[in-house]
């Protein structure tokens, strides 16, 4: 069995066994041992995942653990269905884990093997989550990555804000995973199957009925909690604020967006057939959530002064765009969404590591506090990187986020969605352009009543540093700035690969043909892929894509300028502006009970709407 399929179990088993062995022998290995072992495992995951992307370019790999192949259409064991999109996301997890581990090398003063163990289990969970073809197994990997993430989030537990943020994260996500589990139980009760392909086949040709619709609602809500879609996003900002930045790179870069992709797979493989008659109802409900995420995330990101909270809300807004791409229920929309997950993931991970470097160098993570502090030697590279991330989010053609968004927007063909996407991109871009201008150029005022300023503990979740000492050493600066630089370059360059948009579309086409996958999974026979509908050769961004990019680029520069100098407006205008700002912020108040109420309201609304429209 020397073929590529042997790599499939290893992508999860290698990081896990490394973690277990680290825990077993940690006492007897030198201080840098865990660093090296974890780094080697993460590199191995990356290399294997990339090999799997290459190996599955024509036919997906179905791997049955324990060698239990299905008998007469009944899955006995658990399978991983490796196709290029899932393998790409596994590779993305690996790349960001490598960057994060390299960064941690110098970031923490003292960090024991427990940290590395948890990063490795988080990585293994993310890889399993993106490859698994079994609904319960997906839940297992979701749990594994969640448990590791809760602990890592509370790393600086002696700070009170950290306890609160990590606890909110744990409570809300546990509610989410339990909701997902309840949905899985309903599906199992109705179909007797946990395998996605088998679920899809056994629901084929019947009206969906109560259990399936309710199960779909619960599974959607459970996964969207992890993904951070409005109104399930509340934990996200609180958790991101307190997570140590190298781990935050994993959270923002992959963990959240993976749930969107897994949702897409669960929908197509398991439910798309049963709900085929109600595609419009599914699409409309998801689009409402997507638009709400884009708008709330974008506005809230603009209203934060703390860099990590800005990334958190930018993640919500970007995630909304990803969900919009998925919600179109077309191959091109899904292709754009997957591409956005990858490219935005690289940029967000870079951003988080960059913020960590800024916190360590300038002794703070709040843009008002850091006003003009970056105007000194060595400030050019961080400033340029921060602005580059901002421009990336603002959809500068022809780079990554632009191409992904263009795919989704062109697939939609709805002018209002183009406008919403442009607004969201403009705002998320403006946030980081503003931060770069304020910190590294000293533009704008030092005080701003519209964006929060928390005078105490502006670097929650981060270790204590002796500021500026290490930073003078070139080696230290290289280790701190190389990972974000590489990630930004990767995010930008990826879209220059010829035919990358077509590649993502054809990969998505494979996911949106569930019957073909199911036949391959359950009987081992792979029917030919039907041609992509409405395919006109190579993809080139259309008119609405260019309009979206132009709007968001101009908009982001204007918005950045406006949010720097808005206080020069008249007093009446200022007062009028501050009222809705205060209202929106008071909703994100950090109270777990309120967040849970929002969650329950979201599930109830989704459930009620789908109960009425999908039957």
């Amino acid at each position: 069995m020397a073929d590529a399929s042997t790599l499939v179990p290893l992508t999860v088993a290698v990081p896990l066994i490394t973690a277990a062995l680290l825990a077993a022998v940690s006492r007897w290995i030198p201080r840098r041992g865990p660093d090296l072992a974890a780094l080697a495992a993460a590199v191995a995951v990356t290399v294997m995942s990339v090999a799997l992307v290459v190996a599955t370019r024509d036919t997906p790999i179905v791997y049955w653990f324990g060698g239990w192949h299905p008998v007469r259409g009944v899955a006995l064991g658990i399978d991983f269905v490796v196709e290029p999109a899932g393998a790409s996301l596994a590779a993305l997890s690996g790349v960001i884990a490598v960057a994060s581990l390299v960064f941690s090398w110098r970031y923490f003063e003292e960090v024991g093997h427990l940290y590395h163990t948890l990063v490795l289990t988080l990585l293994a969970g993310m890889v399993g989550f993106s490859l698994s073809g079994d609904l319960f197994n997906i839940f297992v990997w979701l749990e594994l990555m969640s448990v590791a993430a809760y602990a890592l989030c509370g790393y600086q537990i002696h700070q009170s804000g950290v306890v609160q943020g990590a606890l909110t994260f744990a409570v809300l996500n546990t509610i989410g995973t339990l909701t997902l589990l309840m949905g899985i139980a309903l599906v199992y009760g109705r179909t007797g199957a946990l395998n996605l392909a088998q679920i899809g086949e056994s629901l084929h040709g019947h009206p969906p009925g109560g259990p399936v619709i309710v199960a779909f609602t619960l599974i959607t809500a459970g996964l969207l909690v992890k993904a951070g879609a409005v109104p399930f996003h509340f934990w996200l900002a609180d958790a991101y604020t307190v997570v140590p930045a190298p781990v935050g790179a994993l959270f923002a870069g992959v963990m959240s967006d993976l749930a969107y992709h897994t949702f897409a797979r669960v929908y197509w493989d398991g439910f798309s057939d049963a709900l085929a008659a109600h595609r419009d109802a599914v699409r409309d409900a998801l689009l409402v959530l997507a638009v709400a995420s884009i708008l709330v995330g974008a506005v809230m990101a603009l209203l934060e002064a703390e860099l990590k909270r800005q990334v958190a809300f930018a993640t919500v807004a970007n995630g909304g765009l990803v969900l919009a791409g998925i919600a179109l229920l077309t191959p091109r929309g899904l292709g754009g969404a997957t591409m956005l997950v990858v490219v935005d993931g690289l940029l967000k991970a870079a951003l988080f590591l960059l913020i960590a470097a800024i916190i360590q160098w300038l002794d703070g993570g709040d843009e008002l506090l850091l006003h003009g502090r970056g105007r000194r030697r060595g400030g050019v590279l961080p400033g340029v990187l921060l602005a580059a991330c901002g421009l990336g989010f603002a959809l500068v053609p022809p780079f990554g986020p632009f191409l992904g968004t263009a795919l989704a927007v062109d697939a939609a063909g709805r002018p209002w969605l183009t406008a919403v996407a442009a607004c969201g991109a403009a705002a998320t871009g403006a946030v980081f352009l503003r931060a770069a201008a304020r910190i590294f150029l000293g533009w704008g005022p030092r005080e701003d009543p519209a964006i929060t300023r928390e005078p105490t503990e502006s670097r929650e979740g981060e270790p204590e540093f002796q500021p500026n000492d290490d930073w003078k050493r070139v080696g230290h600066r290289i280790i701190m700035l190389a990972p974000p630089t590489v990630l930004v370059i990767a995010g930008y360059v990826l879209s220059l690969v010829p035919g990358v948009a077509d590649w993502f579309t054809s990969v998505a086409h494979g996911i949106t043909t569930p019957h073909r996958t199911a036949e391959y999974v359950l009987s081992g026979h792979l029917p030919p892929l039907p041609p992509l509908p409405h395919s006109h050769g190579h993809y080139a961004p259309g008119g609405s894509a260019w309009a979206c990019a132009a709007g968001s680029l101009i908009g982001s520069v204007l918005l950045a300028a406006a949010s720097l100098w808005w206080q020069r407006l008249g007093r009446v205008v200022r007062r009028v502006l501050l009222v809705p700002v205060a209202a929106l912020k008071s909703v994100h108040d950090g109270a777990v009970g309120d967040y849970t109420l929002w969650f329950a309201t979201g599930v109830a609304a989704l459930g009620a709407v789908w109960t009425l429209t999908l039957r």
């Binding site: 309903l186 007797g192 599930v603």
Partner: protein, 252 residues
């Protein structure tokens, strides 16, 4: 109206809608006593013939769906690592531990009697886990209960002394690693990951099951150690609240 009251007031209608949706889903499920699904029917018919194991849930847990169990075992492992990370970092080292000898002779004697009994029960539950109801998870947890009895019957020092952290740490890591290594061994033997590559033995004997027996023991070791480590961390939190008697009081 306080925020709490308002929240409750809003929650009631939301919960009502949610309950209605859930009920609608539950009502459509197959009713009690309906014939088993294809998967259950297949396993009931073929499991013993295929895997030579009389406890069918164990065969599902450690073989057919052994990959899930690997994930679940690692969830437990990760929770313990996470607990250790959070509590060890959050705790200040107090140095001297309090003397908390069990005061009552009845508790001491009953507890001391129960330590070997519980340990034996745990080991039995693990070792017969694939023949009769039981298994690595259940038995491992019972074994870790014996360590708790050491504290109840003896003292915190005894509990920590007889379960040295380096040893338990190593046991936990090796238990988890052994599970994965069994899967890798199947791969090395030219079969699928976690495939039952060892001979299945005679039905009903302790030597049945092949890899199921190995995975069962690996899980037992991991779960027992994980339980003990969690007790360590939580007891350490608790013990700090026990006032430390000053030496002068002890002399009296």
């Amino acid at each position: 109206m306080s925020r709490r009251r308002l929240r409750l007031l809003l929650f009631v209608p939301v919960a009502a809608v949610l309950a209605g949706v859930l009920m609608w889903g539950l009502v459509g499920l197959p009713s009690f006593g309906s014939p088993p699904h294809a998967y259950a029917a297949y396993l009931l018919k073929h499991e013993v013939g295929q895997r030579h194991v009389t406890n069918i849930p164990s065969a599902i847990v450690f073989d057919y769906r052994g990959w899930d169990t690997l994930g679940e075992e690692l969830i437990l492992f990760t929770s313990v690592m996470g607990t250790a990370l959070l509590l060890r970092r959050g705790r200040e080292d107090t140095g001297e531990r309090p003397r908390d000898k069990a005061a009552s002779a009845a508790v001491r004697h009953a507890g001391a009697f129960l330590v070997p009994v519980v340990l034996l029960l745990g080991i039995w539950t693990v070792s017969y886990g694939y023949l009769t109801p039981g298994g690595g998870f259940q038995g491992g947890l019972i074994c870790s209960g014996a360590a708790l009895f050491l504290w109840i019957a003896g003292s915190y020092r005894l509990h920590r002394g007889l379960t040295p952290t380096p040893l338990v740490d190593a046991a936990e890591g090796s238990g988890a690693a052994a599970y994965i290594a069994t899967g890798l061994a199947a791969l090395a033997a030219g079969q699928a990951f976690l495939a039952g590559f060892l001979p299945s033995g005679t039905v009903g004997s302790l030597l049945s099951g092949g890899t199921i027996a190995l995975l069962n023991w690996a899980t037992g070791l991991e779960v027992a150690a994980a339980g003990v480590l969690i007790f360590h961390e939580f007891l350490e939190e608790y013990i700090q609240t026990v006032p430390n008697p000053s030496p002068r009081q002890e002399e009296r």
